[in-house]
Symmetry: C2
Subunit: 228 residues, 2 copies
Amino acid sequence: MATKNNVAVVLLSGGLDSATVLAIAKNKGLACHTVCFDYGQRHIAEIEASAVISRKLKSKDHRLINIPLDAIGGSALTDLSIDIPKVATKGIPITYVPARNTIFLSFALAIAEVVKAGKIFIGINSIDYSGYPDCRPEFINAFQKMSNLATKEAIEGLDISIESPLINLSKSEIIKLGTSLGVDYSITVSCYSADKGGNACGNCDSCRFRQQGFKEAGISDPTLYIKS
Amino acid sequence: MATKNNVAVVLLSGGLDSATVLAIAKNKGLACHTVCFDYGQRHIAEIEASAVISRKLKSKDHRLINIPLDAIGGSALTDLSIDIPKVATKGIPITYVPARNTIFLSFALAIAEVVKAGKIFIGINSIDYSGYPDCRPEFINAFQKMSNLATKEAIEGLDISIESPLINLSKSEIIKLGTSLGVDYSITVSCYSADKGGNACGNCDSCRFRQQGFKEAGISDPTLYIKS
């Protein structure tokens, strides 16, 4: 039977980063419980990719949790009346979803308590990213301190560690690492405006970082783009 | 138009504590956006009470957010296969819901960003309570530090303050304070096993704290109990 220290909860959006993180956790010999959120985002193809990736990497189980962030609004990712920018913008972009990673990590914490996981993996990185506040190392450190006080596990002396192995890697470093671990990036979906088949737009922030990453890594980009 | 500092998000479960907190916030002249969570708990009557209390105290709006904590499990409040204890138990009781307040506050943070609220009110207290880890002042302080780093508002220099005005009050002090502010406790529901009409069991932890509170406050208990 798995002991506490080799059980992990892995946030798995279905994108390039989280797929890499799952491969890292599996490579450490951890039994992984994956979780994906349907939060009213536009990119449904990412949700389907998440389940495929979880199965392909032999996770222990996979949860799809519905959370109505679209009822809260305030982001181009959850509000269909706000357009996704097609060019880079200054400051924190409109694709920022209020408190998204705080909410995701809170659910992961609840799952970690129930499945007795000692680790939560999240694929955030603070290098090639869109400037979201909840992708920074200082945010993760503060969430760790808070979660050490939040749970029954914590009271009983068993902390749950928040692991963000990509936090200081560039997109190209992430792609090189994942490729060395055998990640099949053709089944991951990063695009904010992907079509139902998971084909990417090639224009949004997320597509731009991904394309640049493959280029810099010198690895052929397996992404399928929408034919224009 | 309301300025940032007189807008608040108030977590309103429909119980005695959160109704008192809403009255405190209203008494400060704040425009209150109330939020209640349907998290698969047994006590649906509490959810209905929340909407009634919000309307009665003239809140700006009321949100009911569905979050599937029952799919995560691990608590007698969300898992029908676990019985609610009828007598006090030692340690953290089985009614503890993994990471519940962390999740609730995370959603409140998202709403606060969207409605530009400078305050989030939560009715936790650490005196007459069931020993839940996420009802302690040190948890709230850590959540505050984390949330100061989590949001776009925070990056732009506008922190959202977490207010827990009941944290050091006993149940009888809360009841006295609420009564002085005109709270009608007959419409609040605290019981973990209330029937569909909101009648309380009189036996669970929550009922016991409430009964004792009215007794110590010397205020007649308006709670309707299930006739045995």
